[in-house]
């Protein structure tokens, strides 16, 4: 599987990564070579094999739906790039 620059641009958009134009060619080469490595999987017959969801085949442990953490908003927001009145600030989304 070989990826071209347009494929890389599409993937970068899905991954929310801004790639400058000159870098897309390099990523197209690198990603194609990684997919080339992965290609070895296609030769394996996996008919009837259950996909492995967990190394120990454990099921998800559940806990009662009760609060276990205190409110630490001020502490958590102290490391945020930009906040105001307890809110995280981002560029305007709705005009």
């Amino acid at each position: 599987m070989s990826l071209n620059r347009a494929d890389v641009e599409k993937i970068a958009h899905l991954a929310r990564l801004a790639l400058p134009e000159p870098e897309t060619e390099r990523y197209a080469v690198d990603l194609s070579s990684i997919l080339g490595l992965v290609e070895a999987m296609s030769a394996v017959d996996t008919g009837g094999v259950t996909p492995m969801a967990h190394p120990l085949h454990m099921v998800q442990r559940l806990r009662p739906d009760e609060p276990t953490e205190p409110d630490q908003r001020a502490l958590f927001q102290s490391i945020a790039p930009l906040t105001e009145d307890g809110l995280y600030l981002v560029p305007r989304v709705i005009e």
Binding site: L3, V8, I11, A12, L14, A15, R16, L17, A18, L19, Y27, D30, L31, S33, I34, L35, G36, L37, V38, E39, A40, M41, S42, V44, T46, V49, T50, P51, M52, A53, H54, P55, L56, M58, Q60, R61, R63, Q72, L75, F76, S78, I79, A80, P81, L82, Y88, V90, P91, R92, V93
Partner: protein, 484 residues
């Protein structure tokens, strides 16, 4: 002082005329003098370490504490430490101060260990050479022109150079074992779920596991004892009781069956490394173990499977770094999409971007079945290989890495060549099994690691086997020249 085992240091701290403050000062002096050439530490916390050492001394004076009380260690910079920067080797977290301690950090602090600082690592633990760190590469203490391995390269180099008594690491595809091998130390990746992942920055959640990196199996047993155990805050934490690892050291190994997978001794394995591994296996035969030829037929597929599963999980885990709640944010974003895209592009380095993009691609509409589902199916086959092997043998042995440490820059421009370093370590992560790497005879002055893989929750057996070899030989005592 820095050549002593943790057991011996602990004995001296309890009335042997040594204080933790003195020991901590000794290591801080070594870090200041030797680390500029190695770059093993990203952050040194001298003041906090000396305060913790004084508290440990007070505990010891009252006759309290355990075998780790007052012992200076270092944490890989992937573990959240309250009030002390956690960068994960990334620009994204250059100024990130976690508001809480990881469970592992909390447990080792409760045991009285003194934290000297945080060690360098590949960015977000993605790498096998410690060259993807935003904070610069780590140098191998045995040869400063070579890599220490990765991703726990800073921890491995710090332990090998005697800059700390022990360090923590994480292993997603070999990141404890491979740098341990390349730096000549002991490193164990426990069974998936054995050590809590809470507060350990996630890379690939179904593979990530933390473990100790030390100069001997005996030291590793003490560290793992404090780190392991059920944690309700980690939903994948194993609810298995933790045995007394130190008590298992010295168990007789007569009659133990060692499986040698033929796939681990084929093309691509350096002949010198192969000779060294066979030499160590002969030692085990002298100690009474039996060698059995086995096959892990699907193991050559572990690298391809890993490079679907790990990037898929990483692309999802790293989606949280969006420049909004914490971490790097770009200047003057035009709109929200621009904020996300530029913050992430500026915050992540090239290897992290490659893996995020591969993961995004294999999970995208139309490709999921061909890549992700297929990989998880083959993962099952790889796991079944081990299950069948453990019906015939007690442990599996082979090389940790196909070669000794390679020169800095040698594989940096070829991601696939870099990925193939982990050919012998990845399968155990995919299966969730424990594995240990211990030093054996060096090749051309560079360390070689023997890997021992055990069945689920057999960490005690692995530590005992490692300890038996370290009682019979002195490979693990070799120190890098020029770092006295």
């Amino acid at each position: 002082m820095h050549e002593l085992s943790i057991t011996e240091l602990s004995r001296r701290l309890r009335g042997g005329g040594l204080t933790s403050v003195e020991l901590t000062r000794h290591y801080l002096e070594r870090i200041e003098r030797l680390d500029p050439a190695l770059n093993a530490f990203v952050t040194v916390a001298a003041e906090a370490a000396l305060e913790a050492a004084a508290r440990a001394d007070a505990r010891l004076a009252r006759g309290e504490g355990g075998p780790l009380t007052g012992i200076p260690i270092a944490h890989k910079d992937i573990f959240c430490t309250q009030g002390l920067r956690t960068s994960c080797g990334s620009r994204m977290l250059e100024r990130f101060i976690a508001p809480y301690d990881a469970t592992l950090v909390e447990r080792l602090a409760a045991a009285g260990a003194v934290v000297l600082g945080k060690t360098n690592m590949d960015e977000f633990a993605m790498g096998s050479s410690n060259e993807t760190s935003f904070y610069g590469p780590v140098k191998n203490p045995w040869d400063l022109d070579r890599v220490p391995g990765g991703s726990s390269g800073g921890s491995a180099a710090a332990v090998a150079a005697r800059l700390c008594a022990a360090a923590t690491g994480t292993d997603t595809g070999g990141s404890i074992r491979q740098p341990a091998a390349l730096c000549g130390i002991t490193g164990i990746k426990p069974t998936y779920g054995r050590v809590s992942r809470w507060g350990m920055i996630a890379f690939a959640s179904s593979l990530d596991q933390a473990g100790p990196m030390t100069r001997s199996a005996e030291d590793a047993a003490l560290l793992l004892q404090a780190m392991a155990g059920f944690d309700p805050r980690d939903s994948t934490s194993a609810e298995e009781p933790v045995p007394d690892y130190a008590a298992q050291l010295g168990t007789d190994i007569a009659g133990l069956r060692i499986g040698l997978p033929r796939e681990y001794f084929g093309d691509g394995l350096d002949p010198g490394v192969a000779a060294s591994i066979h030499g160590a296996i002969r030692e085990y035969e002298r100690l009474g173990a039996q060698v059995v030829d086995i096959s892990l037929p699907n193991s050559p597929l572990s690298v391809p499977v890993y490079y679907v599963v790990a990037p898929a999980e990483c692309s999802s885990n790293l989606a949280r770094f969006d420049g909004v709640r914490y971490g790097h944010r770009c200047e003057a974003p035009r709109d929200l999409e621009d904020l996300y895209k530029r913050s992430r592009a500026e915050g992540f380095g090239p290897e992290v971007k490659r893996r995020i993009m591969i993961g995004t691609y294999v999970l995208s509409a139309g490709y999921y079945d061909a890549y992700y589902l297929k990989a998880q199916q083959i993962r099952h086959l790889i796991s079944d290989d081990f299950r069948r092997a453990f019906e015939q043998v007690d442990v599996i042995m082979g090389p940790t890495s196909p070669t000794t440490a390679f020169p800095l820059g040698a594989k940096l421009d070829d991601p696939v060549a870099m990925y193939l370093n982990d050919i012998y370590t990845i399968a155990t992560n995919l299966a969730g099994l424990p594995g240990i790497s211990i030093p054996v005879a060096p090749v051309d002055g560079m360390p070689v690691g023997l890997q021992i893989i055990g069945d689920y929750f057999q960490e005690g057996r692995l530590l005992n086997l490692a300890h038996r070899l370290q009682q019979a030989t002195d490979w693990h005592l070799a120190a890098p020249p020029g770092l006295a």
